[in-house]
Symmetry: C2
Subunit: 183 residues, 2 copies
DNA sequence: GATTTCATGTAAGACGTTACATGATTCA
DNA sequence: TGAATCATGTAACGTCTTACATGAAATC
């Protein structure tokens, strides 16, 4: 039984900020949404599942002005499951997977995060080369209107890859042990 | 009845290069895959649907060495449906939607493509500002290990947005009517 | 007074992925 | 001779989205 990323995203959010389904969805919407969109109903459907796994526990909190809510917090088992999942690179590691791990970086080994950043940076460099080859190939064939546009889409990939390379580089620097300045 | 993007992607690929399901999946894998991944089985499942809509027609081609195949090509109705769909911005226009329209740009009005590029560029600029605000907000709160990593994920969005802005700018330039050089 | 927002969820169904299936051909 | 690839699909299933549902509070 291997879970998709979404339950771990919800688990991680609950770990960072315990709360109700509504709270967690709102939190997602101002944090991971930018690189990992997750809908409110998706959050709701993951919660019972995580509770059955024993990774979070919910407590019913009665309210006057609003419907009663169920507030969740992570269990020690849940935190371990989160860490284990974060430490292992995603099956088909995409940039979002690495960004997600960076966001939950406090729950994982810095060593592992650094490794994943390095690995993805290489992937991005390879991708960039691949796309540049496509751009040149189209140049060689001659650029009519249609090919100009096709080439533009390849250029999109190139710029994308370059942004990714720049980001992994600057993020790797953050993880490096601070260099003591000798006097 | 409103269709998702996938059937239109398959329709567009068939328009660009008529062929079998296998051919189309292979074509997708060396073109739109970079910004719009679509699986082989997904392609297969869209084909009968597109044929029922009268947007493509399939002809059985018997083969000796391999299983018989069904080769598809677009109908005039299909090409009109494709154009109509491309001309209207996606409900929640994401960058991929615009890249997709650029890829199929030969089937749509250049005017409309230019509009969508301009619109998305503005979106990206707004997003960049939003993310920069988050970066600064975290600076103001003080940067512990966890916040440094959270900030890094916001930085990812910033670099991403900047790449997008750069791409829309350079692609817009391609669509501008060539300036005649007087002299 | 009507509409929007807050706060909480449930239910249905489309979408897309992973696994299964087949048989010939080429490569090691 | 065995494994991998080509070429064609089908079937099952889980994920995720869209629509539905409720009622109080705030806003216009």
């Amino acid at each position: 039984m291997t879970l998709p990323a979404s339950p771990y995203v919800v688990l991680g959010l609950i770990a960072k900020k315990p709360g109700s389904g509504y709270d967690t969805a709102a939190f997602a919407d101002r944090s991971v949404r930018y690189f990992w969109p997750i809908s409110r109903t998706q959050v709701y459907s993951e919660l019972p599942r995580l509770e059955e796994l024993g990774w979070i526990t919910g407590t019913l909190v009665p309210q006057d002005r609003y419907p009663d809510k169920r507030v969740y917090q992570p269990t020690p088992t849940g935190l371990r499951a989160l860490r284990d999942w974060l430490d292992v690179p995603a099956p088909r590691q995409r940039i979002q997977d690495v960004v997600l791990r960076t966001f939950f970086g406090a729950y994982m080994s810095s060593q592992r995060l650094a490794e994943q950043l390095a690995e993805y940076r290489q992937q991005a460099e390879k991708l960039r080369a691949e796309l540049l080859a496509i751009v040149e190939h189209l140049d060689a064939k001659g650029l009519d209107h249609s090919r100009v546009l096709t080439q533009a889409t390849a250029r999109y990939g190139v710029l994308q890859a370059e942004a990714t390379i720049a980001w992994t580089t600057e993020t790797q620097a953050l993880l490096e042990p601070p260099q003591g300045q000798a006097g």
